[in-house]
């Protein structure tokens, strides 16, 4: 029927067959290797497919992008740090930078804050699993779908007309003038409105991880504190919260990386207009709207530099885990 179907079947059946065949092939190959080198050679043969993919799709382009960021629009000559100077002097880029800082601060605050509150509260009700599913499910849908859902939430019609958007419908019901949420850039209201969408998606992520850590706190410890006369708030503040802090740090790093790379929501909901642009979206515009690969590369490098401290934190956490293992 569909010519693509044949291709798909070949890929779904053929590629795994080739890969499995490759691994069997390495054993056959190793029979000819000298006995002493077999052990040394084998791991590299097993790693080879992964290393090729990582090399071609992550390592090589990362180096390429860094080099490209020092070149001009067409990539014909090196222009030093001019693309970076552009970033720190162009109004548009600075707006994107400001918005990314807002994303970076507000998104972890909202997701971790709500995630913590919800995790602690649902622990006390019997319909815990249902409540968690409701909060968690937005994480499974695409940011495009979330963007459509929330563009409708924020839908605006001029005062006097019937409001069809949920938020403005509620606003109109209490007799206040409707607000053009994603158009209004006063106090970066529209950027905050976009961050709320992402918080709606990612709170479930924070909640699930914090909830798992919460269940790991020994019940005897909490009961002992209560017996000693601690109020529920004191138990939370002095025992539960400090014990959750490492988990909260982990959740925050992941959410911060997500905030830095925010792209889809902006692309779908505002297209970066009315001062809602962010670095990742500006980079896409430089690539496809202005065909300036030099500036686009510089923007990508700036994202990477912002992420490096978080990467170092993650690696040190990984090493700490290894030490326990």
């Amino acid at each position: 029927m569909d010519p693509r179907l044949g291709t798909a079947i070949i890929v779904v059946v053929g590629v795994p067959a080739v890969l499995v065949g490759y691994i069997y092939g390495t054993e056959l190959l190793l029979r000819f290797a000298p006995e002493r080198q077999k052990g040394a050679l084998r791991p590299w043969l097993w790693l080879l497919p992964a290393l090729i993919f990582l090399g071609v799709f992550l390592v090589y382009p990362t180096i390429g992008t860094i080099i490209r960021s020092f070149q001009n629009t067409a990539g014909t000559s090196f222009i030093g740090v001019e693309n970076y100077i552009w970033f720190f002097s162009s109004g548009e880029a600075l707006v994107a930078l400001r918005n990314n800082v807002l994303w970076l601060v507000l998104l972890p605050l909202l997701t971790v804050g709500f995630g913590l509150i919800i995790a602690v509260l649902v622990d006390r009700v019997r319909y815990e699993s249902v409540a968690k599913s409701v909060i968690f499910v937005p994480l499974a849908i695409s940011m495009v779908a979330a963007g459509v859902i929330w563009k409708f939430m924020y839908a605006y019609k001029s005062p006097g007309e019937p409001q069809v958007g949920t938020v403005n419908g509620a606003v109109a019901a209490v007799g206040v003038d409707p607000v053009p949420w994603i158009l209004n850039d006063t106090l970066a209201l529209n950027t905050i409105a976009l961050i709320v969408v992402m918080a709606w998606m990612w709170t479930g992520f924070a909640m699930v991880i914090i909830s798992a850590a919460l269940k790991g706190i020994s019940a005897e410890l909490l009961e002992a504190a209560r017996v000693d006369g601690a109020t529920e708030w004191q138990v939370f503040q002095r025992i539960v919260f400090p014990l959750l802090l490492p988990t909260i740090a982990v959740v925050s790093t992941t959410v911060i990386i997500t905030a830095l790379k925010a792209f889809d929501i902006v692309y779908v909901m505002t297209g970066g207009q009315n001062d809602t642009n962010v670095i990742a979206h500006l980079m896409y515009q430089e690539m496809f709207s202005f065909s300036d690969f030099g500036r686009a590369s510089a923007l990508a490098v700036i994202l990477l530099i912002a992420i490096i401290p978080i990467m170092l934190f993650n690696i040190s956490r990984f090493r700490a885990q290894e030490a326990i293992r």
Partner: protein
């Protein structure tokens, strides 16, 4: 038991500001149910509108009762590119889920159960690649694909998603395989099993929970991806775009046609939601298992 109750009674008397317990319980229920309602409201609104007709959607809020039908869904499947895009999404997602898992499983096995110099350093390097933003790779890969005439082809996104998915896949699988009992592999080797046999007969079957979690992650990541799709496919062959690309195109072309946009968005959400609810346990276990894709 009585001692604890006694102590509680004492603190209850002493703590003058404490709210009575039944009232506190009601407070918890109100807050939890309230938050659930807030979280559901955005989706419910658009969902209701996707069954209303154009006039109703333009003139009144979704909370106003009107007639409901499946017309929008029929229209969107017949008239627009959404039907094709659904098939494209399947074509893109299934291979882009299978290939990285298999490649990562080989690597994870080598990292867990084979000794070689620089093993830990290399592994840390691979984990470090987790946070290289996709944006870093777009331009050189785009040019590479152009040289091979791959832009716009499914093969381009299969390969790219495999590369992008590997660091997390290797990380997750290695952590799981590394925690399997050593004795199992030692006794297998004593019985004369080759590494290949040990991998396919022992390591892989024992890692099914981790592989399931990984498969769900990778599936959702690829299915929900927009950036990779519009970069490698959108510019060259828009007819090969997956649902995310097609729906985001509709956002600009349909404007306020919320009834159609809603129908398209819910069609794009159907499969992820089914996967999510059917395999929620694995999904949650994968997330709490240590890390999530950056």
């Amino acid at each position: 038991m009585t001692a604890i109750q006694g102590a509680r009674a004492v603190t209850a008397v002493e703590g003058t500001t404490r709210i009575p317990k039944p009232l506190r319980r009601i407070g918890v229920h109100v807050v939890v149910v309230g938050l659930m309602a807030i979280w559901l409201l955005p989706t419910v609104g658009l969902f209701v509108n996707s069954f209303r007709n154009e006039d109703a959607v333009a003139s009144s809020g979704w909370w106003v009762p009107s007639s409901y039908s499946l017309e929008n869904y029929q229209y969107i499947l017949a008239q627009s590119s959404i039907g094709d895009a659904f098939i494209n999404s399947l074509f893109i997602t299934i291979p882009a889920t299978i290939i990285p898992i298999l490649v990562a499983a080989f690597a994870a096995y080598a990292f867990s159960w084979m000794n070689f110099p620089g093993r830990n350093l290399l592994f840390i390097f691979v984990v470090g690649l987790l946070v290289v933003p996709l944006q870093m790779t777009l331009i050189p890969i785009l040019r590479l694909f152009a040289q091979f005439g791959l832009n716009g082809e499914f093969l381009a996104v299969w390969l790219a998603h495999t590369g992008y998915g590997l660091p997390f896949a290797i990380y997750l699988l290695r952590n799981f395989m590394g925690s399997l009992p050593r004795e199992v592999f030692e006794s297998a080797y004593i019985d004369g099993a080759s590494p290949v046999t040990a991998f396919f007969r022992l390591a892989l079957p024992m890692s099914v929970p981790a592989i399931a979690a990984l498969a769900i992650f990778q599936f959702l990541f690829v299915w929900n991806d927009l950036l990779v799709a519009i970069t490698y496919i959108g510019a060259a062959r828009p007819e090969n775009l997956p649902l995310t690309g097609a729906v985001s195109n509709l956002v600009s072309s349909l404007g306020d046609g919320w009834q159609l946009l809603g129908a398209a968005a819910f069609l794009s959400m159907a499969l992820p939601l089914i996967v999510f609810f059917a395999l929620q346990r694995y999904f949650v276990r994968g997330i709490t298992g240590g890390a999530v894709k950056g």
